[in-house]
Protein backbone atom coordinates (compact mmCIF):
# COMPACT_ATOMS: atom_id res chain seq x y z
CA UNK A 1 0.00 0.00 0.00
CA UNK A 2 1.33 3.44 -0.89
CA UNK A 3 1.75 5.54 2.26
CA UNK A 4 2.65 8.63 0.26
CA UNK A 5 1.22 9.42 -3.12
CA UNK A 6 2.06 12.58 -5.02
CA UNK A 7 0.28 13.31 -8.27
CA UNK A 8 1.40 15.99 -10.73
CA UNK A 9 2.56 18.37 -8.03
CA UNK A 10 3.67 21.85 -9.08
CA UNK A 11 4.47 24.45 -6.45
CA UNK A 12 5.73 28.04 -6.57
CA UNK A 13 6.85 29.98 -3.46
CA UNK A 14 5.19 33.41 -3.00
CA UNK A 15 7.01 35.95 -5.12
CA UNK A 16 9.18 33.37 -6.89
CA UNK A 17 9.41 33.65 -10.67
CA UNK A 18 9.35 29.92 -11.36
CA UNK A 19 8.10 26.78 -9.61
CA UNK A 20 10.39 24.98 -7.13
CA UNK A 21 8.57 21.71 -7.80
CA UNK A 22 7.49 21.04 -11.34
CA UNK A 23 5.01 18.26 -12.19
CA UNK A 24 6.31 15.71 -9.68
CA UNK A 25 4.61 12.34 -9.26
CA UNK A 26 5.95 9.90 -6.68
CA UNK A 27 4.72 6.85 -4.81
CA UNK A 28 6.26 5.64 -1.56
CA UNK A 29 5.25 2.23 -0.20
CA UNK A 30 4.79 1.65 3.53
CA UNK A 31 8.07 0.53 5.13
CA UNK A 32 10.34 1.79 2.38
CA UNK A 33 13.66 3.53 3.05
CA UNK A 34 13.66 6.29 0.47
CA UNK A 35 16.76 8.33 -0.29
CA UNK A 36 16.20 11.63 -2.11
CA UNK A 37 19.24 13.28 -3.67
CA UNK A 38 20.12 15.88 -6.30
CA UNK A 39 22.09 19.12 -6.72
CA UNK A 40 21.59 22.09 -4.34
CA UNK A 41 18.36 23.94 -5.04
CA UNK A 42 16.78 21.00 -6.95
CA UNK A 43 13.63 21.08 -4.78
CA UNK A 44 14.41 18.27 -2.29
CA UNK A 45 13.72 20.37 0.81
CA UNK A 46 10.57 21.86 -0.72
CA UNK A 47 9.26 18.40 -1.52
CA UNK A 48 9.83 17.34 2.11
CA UNK A 49 7.78 20.33 3.26
CA UNK A 50 4.84 18.97 1.26
CA UNK A 51 4.72 15.70 3.21
CA UNK A 52 3.29 17.32 6.34
CA UNK A 53 1.59 20.28 4.72
CA UNK A 54 4.13 23.00 5.65
CA UNK A 55 3.82 23.63 1.94
CA UNK A 56 1.33 25.14 1.23
CA UNK A 57 -0.23 25.87 4.68
CA UNK A 58 2.73 27.70 6.21
CA UNK A 59 4.69 28.84 3.16
CA UNK A 60 1.58 29.77 1.10
CA UNK A 61 2.34 30.18 -2.60
CA UNK A 62 0.70 28.58 -5.58
CA UNK A 63 0.09 24.83 -5.67
CA UNK A 64 -1.37 22.36 -8.16
CA UNK A 65 -1.75 18.58 -7.96
CA UNK A 66 -2.37 16.20 -5.09
CA UNK A 67 -0.46 14.93 -2.04
CA UNK A 68 -1.92 12.04 -0.04
CA UNK A 69 -0.11 10.88 3.11
CA UNK A 70 -1.39 7.94 5.18
CA UNK A 71 -4.68 8.23 3.30
CA UNK A 72 -5.10 11.92 4.16
CA UNK A 73 -5.23 14.71 1.60
CA UNK A 74 -2.51 17.00 2.94
CA UNK A 75 -3.85 20.18 1.39
CA UNK A 76 -7.24 19.78 3.12
CA UNK A 77 -5.87 19.10 6.60
CA UNK A 78 -3.89 21.14 9.10
CA UNK A 79 -0.18 20.62 9.67
CA UNK A 80 -0.86 19.63 13.31
CA UNK A 81 -3.09 16.78 12.15
CA UNK A 82 -0.27 15.55 9.94
CA UNK A 83 2.22 15.69 12.84
CA UNK A 84 0.87 12.37 14.19
CA UNK A 85 1.82 10.69 10.93
CA UNK A 86 4.87 12.57 9.69
CA UNK A 87 7.89 13.68 11.74
CA UNK A 88 10.24 16.20 10.16
CA UNK A 89 13.90 16.73 11.05
CA UNK A 90 15.35 19.85 9.45
CA UNK A 91 18.80 20.73 8.09
CA UNK A 92 19.58 23.21 10.85
CA UNK A 93 18.68 21.96 14.35
CA UNK A 94 18.81 25.48 15.82
CA UNK A 95 15.58 26.28 13.97
CA UNK A 96 13.78 23.43 15.67
CA UNK A 97 14.81 23.63 19.35
CA UNK A 98 13.37 26.08 21.85
CA UNK A 99 12.69 24.51 25.28
CA UNK A 100 14.71 25.08 28.45
CA UNK A 101 15.96 21.52 28.69
CA UNK A 102 16.63 18.78 26.18
CA UNK A 103 14.15 16.52 27.93
CA UNK A 104 11.39 19.14 27.65
CA UNK A 105 12.15 19.68 23.98
CA UNK A 106 11.79 15.96 23.33
CA UNK A 107 8.55 15.81 25.34
CA UNK A 108 6.97 18.85 23.69
CA UNK A 109 5.25 17.05 20.80
CA UNK A 110 3.82 14.41 23.16
CA UNK A 111 2.42 17.09 25.50
CA UNK A 112 0.60 18.57 22.54
CA UNK A 113 -1.18 15.36 21.64
CA UNK A 114 -2.20 14.63 25.23
CA UNK A 115 -0.16 11.56 26.16
CA UNK A 116 -0.30 10.46 29.85
CA UNK A 117 2.63 11.43 32.06
CA UNK A 118 3.81 7.87 32.53
CA UNK A 119 3.60 7.03 28.84
CA UNK A 120 5.41 10.27 28.06
CA UNK A 121 8.30 9.42 30.37
CA UNK A 122 8.69 6.02 28.72
CA UNK A 123 8.69 7.41 25.21
CA UNK A 124 11.06 10.26 26.03
CA UNK A 125 13.49 7.87 27.76
CA UNK A 126 13.43 5.58 24.76
CA UNK A 127 14.02 8.40 22.27
CA UNK A 128 16.86 9.86 24.37
CA UNK A 129 18.47 6.43 24.60
CA UNK A 130 18.18 5.73 20.89
CA UNK A 131 19.99 8.95 20.07
CA UNK A 132 22.58 8.64 22.85
CA UNK A 133 21.76 11.84 24.77
CA UNK A 134 20.26 10.46 28.02
CA UNK A 135 23.14 11.77 30.10
CA UNK A 136 22.69 15.40 29.00
CA UNK A 137 18.86 15.47 29.24
CA UNK A 138 18.83 18.27 31.87
CA UNK A 139 21.00 20.64 29.82
CA UNK A 140 19.70 23.47 27.66
CA UNK A 141 19.63 22.63 23.94
CA UNK A 142 21.38 25.95 23.33
CA UNK A 143 24.58 25.21 25.24
CA UNK A 144 25.41 21.95 23.46
CA UNK A 145 27.31 21.42 20.18
CA UNK A 146 25.62 21.48 16.77
CA UNK A 147 25.99 17.72 16.51
CA UNK A 148 24.27 17.12 19.81
CA UNK A 149 21.51 19.56 18.86
CA UNK A 150 20.78 17.48 15.78
CA UNK A 151 20.39 14.43 18.01
CA UNK A 152 17.85 16.30 20.15
CA UNK A 153 15.86 17.22 17.05
CA UNK A 154 15.84 13.58 15.94
CA UNK A 155 14.87 12.39 19.43
CA UNK A 156 11.93 14.84 19.51
CA UNK A 157 10.61 13.31 16.30
CA UNK A 158 11.29 9.71 17.38
CA UNK A 159 9.32 10.22 20.62
CA UNK A 160 6.14 10.77 18.58
CA UNK A 161 6.55 7.35 16.92
CA UNK A 162 5.25 8.63 13.58
CA UNK A 163 4.47 6.37 10.57
CA UNK A 164 6.88 8.37 8.47
CA UNK A 165 10.09 10.14 9.41
CA UNK A 166 11.39 12.74 6.97
CA UNK A 167 15.00 13.78 7.56
CA UNK A 168 16.60 16.60 5.60
CA UNK A 169 20.40 16.11 5.78
CA UNK A 170 20.07 15.22 9.46
CA UNK A 171 23.71 14.49 10.20
CA UNK A 172 25.56 17.22 8.36
CA UNK A 173 26.82 18.74 11.63
CA UNK A 174 27.79 15.40 13.18
CA UNK A 175 31.21 13.78 13.20
CA UNK A 176 31.32 10.69 10.96
CA UNK A 177 31.04 8.09 13.71
CA UNK A 178 28.09 9.88 15.35
CA UNK A 179 26.51 10.26 11.90
CA UNK A 180 26.89 6.56 11.25
CA UNK A 181 25.30 5.80 14.62
CA UNK A 182 22.31 8.02 13.81
CA UNK A 183 21.88 6.37 10.41
CA UNK A 184 22.01 2.97 12.12
CA UNK A 185 19.27 4.10 14.53
CA UNK A 186 17.10 5.26 11.63
CA UNK A 187 17.77 2.06 9.73
CA UNK A 188 16.82 -0.03 12.78
CA UNK A 189 13.57 1.91 13.21
CA UNK A 190 12.83 1.24 9.57
CA UNK A 191 13.68 -2.49 9.74
CA UNK A 192 12.23 -3.34 13.14
CA UNK A 193 9.32 -0.94 13.59
CA UNK A 194 8.45 -0.67 9.90
CA UNK A 195 8.60 3.14 10.02
CA UNK A 196 8.79 4.60 6.53
CA UNK A 197 11.93 6.71 6.17
CA UNK A 198 12.52 9.54 3.75
CA UNK A 199 16.08 10.78 3.88
CA UNK A 200 17.44 13.73 1.92
CA UNK A 201 21.22 13.44 1.48
CA UNK A 202 24.11 14.47 -0.77
CA UNK A 203 26.52 12.02 0.80
CA UNK A 204 25.58 8.69 -0.73
CA UNK A 205 28.90 7.20 0.48
CA UNK A 206 27.30 7.10 3.91
CA UNK A 207 23.68 6.34 3.08
CA UNK A 208 23.15 4.44 -0.21
CA UNK A 209 23.49 1.07 1.53
CA UNK A 210 20.40 1.70 3.69
CA UNK A 211 18.01 2.66 0.89
CA UNK A 212 15.72 0.46 -1.16
CA UNK A 213 14.28 3.35 -3.16
CA UNK A 214 16.43 6.12 -4.61
CA UNK A 215 14.97 9.34 -6.03
CA UNK A 216 17.18 11.70 -8.07
CA UNK A 217 15.81 15.23 -8.44
CA UNK A 218 17.03 18.02 -10.69
CA UNK A 219 15.56 21.47 -11.31
CA UNK A 220 12.31 20.75 -9.50
CA UNK A 221 11.56 17.44 -11.22
CA UNK A 222 12.13 13.77 -10.43
CA UNK A 223 14.63 12.69 -13.08
CA UNK A 224 15.24 9.07 -12.03
CA UNK A 225 13.85 6.77 -9.36
CA UNK A 226 13.88 3.13 -8.39
CA UNK A 227 16.33 0.49 -7.14
CA UNK A 228 19.49 2.24 -5.88
CA UNK A 229 21.79 -0.26 -7.61
CA UNK A 230 20.21 0.44 -10.97
CA UNK A 231 20.00 4.19 -10.52
CA UNK A 232 23.63 4.46 -9.41
CA UNK A 233 24.85 2.46 -12.41
CA UNK A 234 22.97 4.81 -14.73
CA UNK A 235 25.34 7.28 -16.43
CA UNK A 236 22.63 9.95 -16.28
CA UNK A 237 22.78 9.98 -12.47
CA UNK A 238 26.46 10.97 -12.59
CA UNK A 239 25.79 13.62 -15.25
CA UNK A 240 23.12 15.26 -13.09
CA UNK A 241 25.90 15.77 -10.53
CA UNK A 242 25.08 13.11 -7.94
CA UNK A 243 28.12 12.03 -5.91
CA UNK A 244 28.36 8.30 -6.60
CA UNK A 245 29.77 6.32 -3.61
CA UNK A 246 33.50 5.60 -4.03
CA UNK A 247 32.94 1.82 -3.77
CA UNK A 248 30.37 1.99 -6.59
CA UNK A 249 32.70 4.17 -8.69
CA UNK A 250 35.63 1.81 -8.19
CA UNK A 251 33.46 -1.14 -9.27
CA UNK A 252 32.48 0.75 -12.44
CA UNK A 253 36.05 1.81 -13.22
CA UNK A 254 37.29 -1.77 -12.83
CA UNK A 255 34.48 -3.03 -15.06
CA UNK A 256 35.49 -0.56 -17.77
CA UNK A 257 39.04 -1.96 -17.65
CA UNK A 258 37.75 -5.51 -18.10
CA UNK A 259 37.80 -6.55 -14.43
CA UNK A 260 34.18 -7.66 -14.02
CA UNK A 261 33.06 -8.26 -10.45
CA UNK A 262 29.59 -9.60 -11.27
CA UNK A 263 26.21 -8.00 -11.96
CA UNK A 264 25.50 -6.65 -8.49
CA UNK A 265 26.49 -2.99 -8.29
CA UNK A 266 27.93 -2.55 -4.77
CA UNK A 267 26.58 0.22 -2.53
CA UNK A 268 29.10 -0.12 0.32
CA UNK A 269 32.75 -0.94 0.97
CA UNK A 270 31.74 -4.27 2.54
CA UNK A 271 29.90 -5.37 -0.60
CA UNK A 272 32.73 -4.34 -2.91
CA UNK A 273 35.41 -5.98 -0.75
CA UNK A 274 33.44 -9.24 -0.74
CA UNK A 275 33.14 -9.15 -4.52
CA UNK A 276 36.88 -8.53 -4.92
CA UNK A 277 37.76 -11.31 -2.48
CA UNK A 278 35.47 -13.68 -4.35
CA UNK A 279 37.15 -12.83 -7.66
CA UNK A 280 40.77 -12.82 -6.51
CA UNK A 281 41.02 -15.49 -3.82
CA UNK A 282 42.75 -18.69 -4.92
CA UNK A 283 40.25 -21.51 -5.39
Amino acid sequence: MAIIEIKNLTYTYPGASKPSIHDVSLKVEKGEFVLITGPSGCGKTTLCRCFNGLVPHFYQGEIKGEVTVAGINVFEHHTYEMAKHVGLVFQNPENQLFALSIEKDVAFGLENVGVSREEMRKKVDWALNQTGISDIREQSPHEISGGQQQRVAIAAVLAMEPDIIVLDEPTSFLDPLSAEKIFEVIYKLNKEQGITVILVEHRLDLTAKYANHLVVMDEGTVRLEGDPRQILSNEETRLIGVGIPKATLLYQMLKKEGFNLGDKTPLSSEELADQILEALSPR
Partner: protein, 274 residues
Protein backbone atom coordinates in the same frame (compact mmCIF):
# COMPACT_ATOMS: atom_id res chain seq x y z
CA UNK B 1 52.81 31.69 9.28
CA UNK B 2 50.67 30.72 12.26
CA UNK B 3 52.42 29.60 15.44
CA UNK B 4 50.43 28.33 18.39
CA UNK B 5 52.38 27.55 21.51
CA UNK B 6 50.97 25.76 24.53
CA UNK B 7 47.55 27.28 23.96
CA UNK B 8 44.98 26.80 26.71
CA UNK B 9 41.52 28.27 26.48
CA UNK B 10 38.59 28.23 28.86
CA UNK B 11 35.09 29.51 28.14
CA UNK B 12 33.44 31.72 30.80
CA UNK B 13 31.52 28.61 31.92
CA UNK B 14 34.97 27.34 33.04
CA UNK B 15 34.96 24.51 30.53
CA UNK B 16 38.55 24.10 29.38
CA UNK B 17 38.16 23.67 25.61
CA UNK B 18 41.88 23.71 24.75
CA UNK B 19 44.40 21.99 26.96
CA UNK B 20 47.84 22.96 25.73
CA UNK B 21 48.08 22.98 21.95
CA UNK B 22 51.24 23.67 19.98
CA UNK B 23 51.08 23.78 16.20
CA UNK B 24 52.94 25.59 13.44
CA UNK B 25 51.30 26.17 10.07
CA UNK B 26 53.70 27.42 7.40
CA UNK B 27 52.78 29.79 4.58
CA UNK B 28 51.18 27.94 1.67
CA UNK B 29 50.20 24.89 3.68
CA UNK B 30 46.82 23.19 3.40
CA UNK B 31 45.78 21.75 6.75
CA UNK B 32 42.62 19.85 7.72
CA UNK B 33 41.78 19.84 11.41
CA UNK B 34 39.61 16.84 12.22
CA UNK B 35 38.10 15.29 15.33
CA UNK B 36 34.84 14.58 17.08
CA UNK B 37 32.10 17.07 18.01
CA UNK B 38 33.29 19.15 20.93
CA UNK B 39 37.01 18.33 20.44
CA UNK B 40 37.83 22.06 20.35
CA UNK B 41 38.53 22.40 16.61
CA UNK B 42 36.42 25.52 16.02
CA UNK B 43 37.62 27.04 19.30
CA UNK B 44 41.22 26.51 18.21
CA UNK B 45 40.93 28.09 14.75
CA UNK B 46 39.08 31.10 16.18
CA UNK B 47 42.43 31.96 17.76
CA UNK B 48 44.00 32.43 14.32
CA UNK B 49 42.23 35.70 13.60
CA UNK B 50 42.07 36.85 17.21
CA UNK B 51 38.36 36.16 17.71
CA UNK B 52 39.48 34.28 20.80
CA UNK B 53 42.65 34.96 22.77
CA UNK B 54 44.43 32.17 24.67
CA UNK B 55 44.01 32.00 28.47
CA UNK B 56 47.54 30.60 28.64
CA UNK B 57 50.13 30.38 25.85
CA UNK B 58 50.54 32.41 22.65
CA UNK B 59 49.29 32.51 19.08
CA UNK B 60 51.42 34.41 16.58
CA UNK B 61 50.32 35.35 13.07
CA UNK B 62 53.28 36.34 10.89
CA UNK B 63 55.34 36.82 14.01
CA UNK B 64 52.87 39.12 15.81
CA UNK B 65 51.03 37.93 18.92
CA UNK B 66 47.26 38.05 18.46
CA UNK B 67 46.89 39.76 21.86
CA UNK B 68 48.89 42.70 20.47
CA UNK B 69 46.75 43.19 17.40
CA UNK B 70 43.06 44.03 16.76
CA UNK B 71 40.64 41.57 15.19
CA UNK B 72 40.10 44.08 12.37
CA UNK B 73 43.83 44.21 11.57
CA UNK B 74 44.15 40.44 11.75
CA UNK B 75 41.09 39.90 9.57
CA UNK B 76 42.74 41.64 6.61
CA UNK B 77 45.22 38.74 6.48
CA UNK B 78 43.20 35.92 7.97
CA UNK B 79 39.72 35.41 6.51
CA UNK B 80 37.32 33.30 8.53
CA UNK B 81 34.28 31.52 7.09
CA UNK B 82 31.96 30.27 9.81
CA UNK B 83 30.32 26.86 10.02
CA UNK B 84 26.83 28.34 10.15
CA UNK B 85 26.42 31.07 7.50
CA UNK B 86 23.54 32.60 9.49
CA UNK B 87 26.08 33.74 12.09
CA UNK B 88 27.78 35.78 9.41
CA UNK B 89 25.16 37.10 6.98
CA UNK B 90 23.08 40.19 7.63
CA UNK B 91 22.83 42.35 4.48
CA UNK B 92 19.76 42.89 2.34
CA UNK B 93 21.26 41.58 -0.87
CA UNK B 94 23.99 39.10 -1.71
CA UNK B 95 25.89 41.89 -3.45
CA UNK B 96 25.83 44.15 -0.35
CA UNK B 97 26.93 41.25 1.80
CA UNK B 98 30.03 40.68 -0.29
CA UNK B 99 30.79 44.40 -0.59
CA UNK B 100 30.49 45.05 3.14
CA UNK B 101 33.97 44.06 4.30
CA UNK B 102 35.57 45.59 1.21
CA UNK B 103 34.00 48.95 2.13
CA UNK B 104 35.26 48.57 5.70
CA UNK B 105 38.77 47.90 4.51
CA UNK B 106 38.53 51.11 2.47
CA UNK B 107 38.84 49.68 -1.04
CA UNK B 108 37.95 52.07 -3.86
CA UNK B 109 34.47 51.76 -5.41
CA UNK B 110 35.63 50.38 -8.78
CA UNK B 111 37.78 47.77 -7.00
CA UNK B 112 34.83 46.79 -4.83
CA UNK B 113 32.64 46.27 -7.89
CA UNK B 114 35.33 44.21 -9.59
CA UNK B 115 35.95 42.02 -6.54
CA UNK B 116 32.21 41.46 -5.93
CA UNK B 117 31.66 40.34 -9.53
CA UNK B 118 34.71 38.09 -9.36
CA UNK B 119 33.54 36.40 -6.14
CA UNK B 120 29.97 35.97 -7.40
CA UNK B 121 31.22 34.26 -10.54
CA UNK B 122 33.67 32.06 -8.70
CA UNK B 123 30.96 30.62 -6.47
CA UNK B 124 28.19 30.45 -9.10
CA UNK B 125 26.13 33.12 -7.35
CA UNK B 126 25.79 35.72 -10.11
CA UNK B 127 22.08 35.09 -10.60
CA UNK B 128 21.48 35.95 -6.92
CA UNK B 129 23.31 39.31 -6.94
CA UNK B 130 20.18 41.28 -5.97
CA UNK B 131 18.54 38.52 -3.88
CA UNK B 132 18.33 38.53 -0.09
CA UNK B 133 20.74 35.92 1.33
CA UNK B 134 17.89 34.68 3.53
CA UNK B 135 15.85 33.53 0.54
CA UNK B 136 18.64 31.17 -0.54
CA UNK B 137 19.09 27.50 0.36
CA UNK B 138 21.47 26.47 3.16
CA UNK B 139 24.16 25.43 0.68
CA UNK B 140 23.84 28.68 -1.25
CA UNK B 141 24.04 30.84 1.90
CA UNK B 142 27.21 29.00 2.78
CA UNK B 143 28.66 30.02 -0.58
CA UNK B 144 27.67 33.66 0.00
CA UNK B 145 29.56 33.59 3.31
CA UNK B 146 32.61 32.16 1.53
CA UNK B 147 32.36 34.71 -1.30
CA UNK B 148 32.21 37.62 1.15
CA UNK B 149 35.52 36.56 2.70
CA UNK B 150 37.30 35.61 -0.54
CA UNK B 151 36.43 39.01 -1.98
CA UNK B 152 39.04 40.80 0.13
CA UNK B 153 41.68 38.24 -0.84
CA UNK B 154 43.12 37.34 2.58
CA UNK B 155 46.50 35.63 2.74
CA UNK B 156 45.17 32.87 4.97
CA UNK B 157 41.74 31.33 4.75
CA UNK B 158 40.04 29.52 7.62
CA UNK B 159 37.08 27.37 6.54
CA UNK B 160 34.96 25.92 9.33
CA UNK B 161 33.10 22.90 7.90
CA UNK B 162 32.97 24.21 4.31
CA UNK B 163 31.37 21.11 2.76
CA UNK B 164 28.25 20.91 4.95
CA UNK B 165 25.14 21.04 2.79
CA UNK B 166 27.18 21.30 -0.43
CA UNK B 167 26.37 19.01 -3.31
CA UNK B 168 28.91 16.96 -5.22
CA UNK B 169 29.58 19.59 -7.86
CA UNK B 170 30.09 22.38 -5.32
CA UNK B 171 32.48 20.18 -3.36
CA UNK B 172 34.54 19.54 -6.47
CA UNK B 173 34.60 23.28 -7.13
CA UNK B 174 35.68 23.94 -3.57
CA UNK B 175 38.47 21.42 -3.97
CA UNK B 176 39.68 23.03 -7.21
CA UNK B 177 39.44 26.40 -5.57
CA UNK B 178 41.61 25.33 -2.62
CA UNK B 179 44.20 23.94 -5.06
CA UNK B 180 44.15 27.29 -6.85
CA UNK B 181 44.67 29.15 -3.56
CA UNK B 182 47.62 26.90 -2.83
CA UNK B 183 49.15 27.54 -6.23
CA UNK B 184 49.06 31.23 -5.29
CA UNK B 185 50.98 30.41 -2.12
CA UNK B 186 48.04 31.00 0.22
CA UNK B 187 47.44 29.13 3.43
CA UNK B 188 44.21 27.19 3.85
CA UNK B 189 43.09 25.75 7.18
CA UNK B 190 39.85 23.81 7.24
CA UNK B 191 37.95 22.26 10.11
CA UNK B 192 36.02 19.33 8.70
CA UNK B 193 34.31 16.01 9.37
CA UNK B 194 34.14 15.15 5.72
CA UNK B 195 36.55 12.23 5.35
CA UNK B 196 35.82 11.72 1.67
CA UNK B 197 36.61 15.37 0.98
CA UNK B 198 39.87 15.13 2.91
CA UNK B 199 40.76 11.85 1.15
CA UNK B 200 40.35 13.58 -2.21
CA UNK B 201 42.30 16.73 -1.33
CA UNK B 202 44.97 14.91 0.69
CA UNK B 203 46.10 17.79 2.94
CA UNK B 204 48.19 17.64 6.12
CA UNK B 205 45.81 16.22 8.75
CA UNK B 206 45.75 17.33 12.38
CA UNK B 207 43.59 15.16 14.61
CA UNK B 208 42.14 16.64 17.82
CA UNK B 209 40.52 15.01 20.80
CA UNK B 210 39.23 16.66 23.96
CA UNK B 211 41.23 19.85 23.56
CA UNK B 212 44.50 18.25 22.53
CA UNK B 213 46.25 17.28 19.31
CA UNK B 214 46.54 13.49 19.10
CA UNK B 215 48.00 13.09 15.61
CA UNK B 216 49.60 15.27 12.94
CA UNK B 217 50.77 13.98 9.59
CA UNK B 218 49.97 13.06 6.00
CA UNK B 219 46.32 12.34 5.16
CA UNK B 220 47.23 9.00 3.69
CA UNK B 221 48.87 7.91 6.91
CA UNK B 222 46.27 9.18 9.41
CA UNK B 223 43.10 8.39 7.44
CA UNK B 224 44.10 4.73 7.14
CA UNK B 225 44.75 4.14 10.83
CA UNK B 226 41.46 2.67 12.14
CA UNK B 227 42.42 2.76 15.84
CA UNK B 228 43.49 6.41 15.67
CA UNK B 229 40.36 7.43 13.77
CA UNK B 230 37.98 5.64 16.09
CA UNK B 231 39.52 7.51 18.99
CA UNK B 232 38.44 10.73 17.24
CA UNK B 233 35.01 9.54 16.12
CA UNK B 234 36.00 9.49 12.47
CA UNK B 235 35.43 6.63 10.05
CA UNK B 236 37.82 5.43 7.34
CA UNK B 237 37.25 6.83 3.85
CA UNK B 238 35.39 4.30 1.73
CA UNK B 239 38.41 3.26 -0.37
CA UNK B 240 40.45 2.64 2.80
CA UNK B 241 37.53 0.58 4.18
CA UNK B 242 37.67 -1.63 1.10
CA UNK B 243 41.44 -2.19 1.37
CA UNK B 244 41.24 -2.95 5.11
CA UNK B 245 39.08 -5.92 4.13
CA UNK B 246 41.49 -7.10 1.44
CA UNK B 247 44.49 -7.80 3.68
CA UNK B 248 44.33 -11.54 2.90
CA UNK B 249 45.22 -10.69 -0.71
CA UNK B 250 48.49 -9.11 0.40
CA UNK B 251 47.45 -5.63 -0.78
CA UNK B 252 48.58 -2.50 1.11
CA UNK B 253 46.08 -1.01 3.57
CA UNK B 254 47.03 2.66 3.33
CA UNK B 255 45.07 3.49 0.17
CA UNK B 256 42.68 6.44 -0.01
CA UNK B 257 42.91 7.41 -3.69
CA UNK B 258 40.41 5.99 -6.18
CA UNK B 259 42.89 5.80 -9.08
CA UNK B 260 45.63 4.23 -7.02
CA UNK B 261 43.04 1.67 -5.86
CA UNK B 262 42.09 0.87 -9.45
CA UNK B 263 45.71 0.39 -10.55
CA UNK B 264 46.48 -1.90 -7.60
CA UNK B 265 43.41 -4.07 -8.15
CA UNK B 266 44.04 -4.43 -11.89
CA UNK B 267 47.60 -5.55 -11.12
CA UNK B 268 46.33 -8.02 -8.52
CA UNK B 269 43.89 -9.44 -11.05
CA UNK B 270 46.65 -9.86 -13.66
CA UNK B 271 48.73 -11.76 -11.11
CA UNK B 272 45.96 -14.22 -10.24
CA UNK B 273 44.94 -14.88 -13.84
CA UNK B 274 48.52 -15.70 -14.78
Amino acid sequence: MIEAENVHFSYPSKVEALKGISLTIKDGEFVAIMGQNGAGKSTFVKHFNGLLKPSVGTVKVDGVETTKSSVAALARNVGFVFQNPDHQLFSETVEDEIAFALKNFGFEQHVIEERVTWALNLLSLSQYRKTSPFLLSGGERKRVALASVLAWDPKTLILDEPTIGQDHEQKEKLQQFIMQMQAQGKTVVTVTHDVEFVAECNPRVVLMKEGRIVADGEGKEILTDPAMLELSSIVLPQIAQVFTRLSSLGLPKDIIDLYEAKTLLLKAKEKTSR
